[in-house]
């Protein structure tokens, strides 16, 4: 059994929010995804991926900003990891 992993970055912390970024890693070897290979996400929202059979196995925690760094921006905040097994 081999794992396919889909990472969706959403517009807010809700799973039904819009996808703003994405990544795909294919343990089956059937595809060879890489950086900058598509301008269109595979799904428009996180829940759309669920409806297509992807299983959510991790979501970002909501971490308050460190004092003094409330206005800093850094990594994408709302990261959701999905898998399919083949």
């Amino acid at each position: 059994m081999k794992q396919q992993v889909l990472v969706l970055y959403l517009n807010n912390s809700a799973l039904d929010a819009d996808v703003v970024a994405w990544a795909f890693y294919d343990g089956t070897g059937k595809t060879n995804p890489t950086t900058g290979d598509s301008d269109l996400p595979p799904y428009d929202t996180g829940t759309e991926a669920l409806r297509d059979g992807w299983r959510l196995f991790q979501a970002s925690q909501l971490i308050p900003p460190y004092p003094g760094h409330e206005y800093d921006t850094s990594f994408l905040k709302h990261e959701f990891w999905f898998e399919k097994l083949e």
Partner: protein, 270 residues
Amino acid sequence: MTTTKHLLTSVEMARFVANGFHRMDAIVPAELNERAIPEFDAGQQPHVDYGTPVKQAFPEGSISRALLDIPAVAGALQSLVGPDPTVDHHHVHVREPHEGAAQPLHADAIIDPRLDAFDVQLMYYPQEVTGTMGGTLSVPGSHLRRTNESDTGRYQNLRGQTRLTCPPGTVVLLHHGIWHGGRRNDSDIRRYMYKIRFNPTVPQVRTWDVSDLDDPQVAAELNVYHPWSEHATSRLEVYNRVKMWRALTNNPSFDVEYWATRVANRPGRV
């Protein structure tokens, strides 16, 4: 650099502050583009020590000097980093045909959160870059995100990303912090990009043509939301651009949508 003309306008500078790049398509003459690739292949680019003044780094007649003497390039560079920048480093980047993978998304050097100063990276593409040739991926507006080098490598694609295609002789000037990477080259053609990083040597304050500084389009440019950036964080991006614009214009009361003014209002407190 030979000119103080062709400076960017305030609107163009604000667009750079919001997007992190200034692009000039087909700005380099054909004869220079035709010289470039054979010289790049021959490895004729001189070694340059960190912090070398431009004229000392690149002799008269060299491709690099000719590139920097193009009035539009000289004017844009002076607008962004001020006069007489030094050369940090330069390098010819090649994406080989069918090389299999892209670079991970990264920002160059190390994490660099300066808002009141910035380096500029010039990227020069001497040949036409088509969609399959691995043109540089970049993420407009990512330059103020505080991340270190390739720690962003996990991100493969972002809404609103730029997958560069361009005519020969295109030059892009980038803020040092922008997320970017060479894409996978799925073509049969070597893809060249020549990069020079510049460090400012003067305060980057009103170094462009400021005659349109009060144009309302300045605030409109700074207020753009990028499609990859989360809605709430995008407001913080505007806040940080306001901080940067205040430094660049030496105007501590400038604001967009009252973001910076509101949260600094503490009547009667010191």
